[in-house]
Amino acid sequence: MTVEKLKETVLDTLKDVELVMGYQMGFDALHATPLFIRKKEDAERLIWNPLCVHNLTTYLPSLKKSRVGVVVKGCDSRTIIQFLQEGLITRENVTIIGIPCQGIISVRKVLKEIEYEPVEEVSFNSDSMTIKTLKGSKTLKIEDVWPDKCITCKYPTPLIYDYLIGEPVSFDRGVEVSQVIKELEGKSLNERLAYWQKEFDRCIRCYACRNACPLCVCQDSCIAETREPHWISQRLTLNEKFMFHMIHALHLAGRCVECGECARVCPMDIPVNILKKKINLDMKELFGYVPGVNAEDKPPMYTFNVDEVNIKEHGI
């Protein structure tokens, strides 16, 4: 079984790294939480199922100087590739344990289905899950509670790994552009503005989206808080929130690996990932570039080229 194989590999890896990151059960049966394995015994708590939603690679840049192992899904592996392109991690220091993924769940969607009842027990069959609550049990097709990113996912099998647990899988629903983007593209500029104003008005500036994003690297110097330069004040007006999100989106232009963590962690359920996904579509069109797919690629925003693939300003 995958978990046994996973444990075996993790223990193997632990021999020459300080720490391996995987998943364990969280505070209830519907939530997993990251597991930091430093000792053999820790590995006993490892799990692997569609609840393992977190992008654990987020921790890698801050551990740049240590030797670590990390368990990744297909989508998470793109973050590693992006890190490598941006020189944020050292490949030799990271042991990548890849697991081909059949799609994870959106806890938020599941909770909605079970009407936010406290969860007693969760079990998985091949393509469905059964959730037992005090009020009874409910079986859901996993596909129906996929987060947005699984619907557009093109890389369910990790693109980079040292170990692969299980057989490579492929599923591609042929969905290039997520539904929300399609709907937004159909709207007028004013309608779009109104949409985002409504969304961002809810933002409480908790910065969970920023903190969860593996590619937000500014740490304490984030423009949301610095005074030098002083771009955004601490007032809680829509202007400030809007500005923060615009800058967040622009800083992720051509870098966002679409892991969806920002949207997943937002306590206010704001689809913050959508802006970045849309910019990525533009980046693909303009620069022929998709983030986190090939470690040899050069991110277009980090290079200075006279002419780009689709921007022939100088005709040379």
Binding site: Q219, C222, T226, E228, M301, I316
Partner: protein, 653 residues
């Protein structure tokens, strides 16, 4: 903070369409402004005195001048405030002339706009920090790129001025296009006879080092201290042994190599010396044609060479030179004949280009100076010249004039008559452009003394008829169609920039226009400077130009460098990027984007890696500041906070 604002009338230039008194009045209300006044000509000596006095009298510590573009007088006023004891960066200029009074007519609107612009400048100046330049030592050597007439002149003038010069010439010999010409207008003196001595001077000058058949691979550094990687391309002949005897060329069995020097008028050998006066006069193998390379066996030249100079295994060699300034004199190219299908360009052998004709006229050319038709080697009697072949033609993307064709056509027509006395030349032209000294007289002489028939109009089609070519065109002066049966047609093909011009510009960090010609710092007042300090322009690489103009620019560029190098050190511009190491997260994105390679990584004592700007290399372009996600790298004098202060002054009130 005590800000003083000086609003200039500029005679009527500003005061004519801006109520300057009202601007002063409104300015006095801005918090921080303690003094505001108007003055007729602020840049005049009394105007500057007024500023100095006000600084003392009013105790000003910041100054704003609302006047013309900072490109005109920013330096003047910086010096003024410095003389009065302020740091020169405690000064801001509000451009209310070029940006307002000259472009808008509505006085009320202009006045309001001027008030806004002054308010922004005040907000900025209050955020300014004192900046200090540092001085650095310079390496007084000069790199000249391109050994055409412009580059040679520049090199000789620099060397005569005592500077060491390195010339990098892409082709096998120096001389450029001028070495290919027969005679030169307007004096009809033999081109190589006047150029040859200069070439020899270059070769013999003890301060000049020449790398022929070489190219620039990489340029690093900044004004005063460049490191240049030069690629000496493999010639397959050891030039330290080659005596230029030409024995190899005589015996080489590969007789169909393309002759770049002669623009393909006739084929040449796979191993060749381009022309008798070549400098250096050394042989080179063209591996595209050499049998040793194409067939893997031959070795004739190796056997024949008396000094055993042939080396089929030769590889490119990279040499690094250190210099302090660069003169770019890479010249120009001509469009391919294929671009002119309506004239039969590239299709009919007897339709040739002006430069090919120049080679036919030339006594050391492939026909030894006999004019003959490429098709049957017969002497042509009727010759038609077509000017503006490609030039001034928007449809092929060349809207500009190629500058010297009108003149060389007149020259070639005159020479034709000298060579073949019973010949008749026709010139189709749009206008005759001959504004130089003695130029108009020259074109007139072609018509009046040499009987060259000038037809004002464009050629619509050229097609063969038997052995002849029918040139059909309009005569717009007579309002008729004309048809001339010609033996030979010469097209004055348009001048274009070199293929690698834009690519070289990127390496040099200089600007180029849409056509690939390099852009000078100011079209009138800084014609040989570029916007990158330390890099200068000379000759046709900046735009089509004849020999006198190219030589003039070569000398001008040299004089600029002699002035630049007159001291031992240079002052750096402190308005460069600086890293706040407390905010820098060491992502090094800036290092990757800086087009000048001005940023390197630095390890702090605690092991943290941050970015570090080399002050002298930074050109102040600001690319890094927009790359840095956390605003850790800031362009001094243009920091985010300073710009935000301006934006706020404009938008928040």
């Amino acid at each position: 903070m005590r800000v003083g604002v000086f609003i200039c009338h500029c005679g009527n230039n500003i005061a004519g369409t801006i109520d300057v008194a009202r601007v002063a009045e409104e300015t006095r209300k801005i918090p921080g402004v303690v003094y505001a006044t108007t003055y007729m000509y602020t840049c005049s000596e009394p105007g500057q005195e007024e500023i100095k006095e006000a600084i003392k009298r009013e105790g000003l510590d910041r100054v704003v001048v609302a006047a013309c573009s900072p490109r005109m007088h920013e330096m003047t006023f910086r010096r003024t405030v410095e003389k009065a004891g302020l740091n020169r960066y405690f000064f801001e200029m509000a451009n209310i002339r070029e940006h307002i009074s000259w472009v808008g007519e509505d006085k009320e609107f202009n006045t309001r706009k001027a008030i806004d612009v002054v308010r922004m400048a005040v907000a900025k100046v209050m955020q300014n920090r004192p900046l200090f330049s540092s001085s650095f030592k310079i390496n007084k050597r000069v790199l000249v790129m391109g050994g055409g007439v412009a580059g040679m002149q520049a090199a000789l003038d620099c060397a005569d001025g005592g500077l060491e010069v390195v010339i990098v010439e892409k082709s096998q010999s120096i001389g450029g296009m001028m070495a290919r010409l027969d005679k030169t207008f307007p004096t009809i003196d033999c081109s190589i006879c006047i150029l040859g001595p200069k070439m020899v001077d270059v070769a013999q000058h003890e301060k000049i080092k020449l790398y022929a058949y070489s190219e620039i691979d990489e340029i690093k550094g900044y004004v005063g201290n460049y490191q240049v990687k030069i690629r000496k391309k493999a010639t397959y002949v050891d030039w330290s042994k080659c005596t230029g005897c030409g024995a190899c060329m005589e015996k080489c069995p590969s007789k169909n190599a393309y002759d770049y020097f002669n623009f393909g008028v006739a084929p040449t050998k796979a191993i060749n010396i381009p022309f008798p006066q070549a400098i250096p006069k050394k042989a080179k193998i063209d591996p595209n044609y050499c049998r040793q390379f194409t067939k893997g066996k031959c070795g004739v030249c190796a056997k024949i060479c008396p000094t055993k100079a042939i080396d089929y295994e030769m590889k490119d060699e990279i040499i690094t030179e250190e210099v302090g300034a660069i003169i770019v004199a890479t010249g120009y190219s001509l469009i391919d004949m294929d671009m002119l299908p309506e004239y039969g360009g590239g299709r009919y052998p007897d339709v040739i280009s002006g430069i090919q004709y120049e080679r036919l006229l030339n006594a050391s050319g492939p026909t030894a100076g006999h004019i003959e038709r490429p098709s049957d080697h017969e002497e042509p009697k009727t010759i038609v010249f077509v000017s503006c072949a490609g030039s001034r033609d928007k449809s092929i993307g060349i809207p500009y004039c190629s500058n010297f064709c009108c003149m060389y056509i007149a020259k070639q027509a005159i020479l034709t008559k000298d060579h073949i006395s019973d010949s008749q030349s026709y010139v189709f032209y749009m206008d005759i452009r001959s504004p130089g000294k003695g130029y108009d007289e020259f074109t007139r002489r072609a018509q009046e003394e040499y009987g060259v028939h000038y037809i004002r109009g464009r050629v619509s089609r050229i097609y063969p008829k038997g052995k002849k070519l029918v040139v059909r065109g309009a005569d717009t002066l007579l309002g008729t169609q004309v048809e001339i049966e010609a033996d030979l047609v010469v097209l004055a093909t348009a001048v274009i920039s070199n293929k690698d011009a834009a690519y070289m510009a990127e390496k040099l960090h200089i600007s180029y226009d849409t056509f690939g010609f390099y852009v000078e710092s100011h079209p009138k007042l800084r014609p040989v400077e570029t916007n990158t300090s330390g890099v200068f322009l000379a000759g046709a690489c900046q735009g089509p130009k004849d020999i006198p103009a190219s030589v003039g620019q070569g000398s001008a560029a040299a004089s600029k460098i002699l002035a630049l190098f007159s001291g031992e050190t240079l002052e750096s511009d402190p308005a460069v990027a600086r890293v706040n190491i407390n905010a820098c997260v060491g992502c090094l994105k800036c290092v990757k984007t800086c087009p000048f390679g001005a940023i390197k990584e630095k390890e702090l004592r605690d092991g943290r890696v941050v970015a570090d700007v080399i002050e002298t290399v930074c050109a102040g372009c600001g690319v890094c500041t927009s790359t840095c996600p956390c605003g850790a790298i800031q362009l001094q004098h243009f920091t985010d906070n300073q710009i935000l202060a301006e934006v706020n002054a404009l938008c928040l009130i």
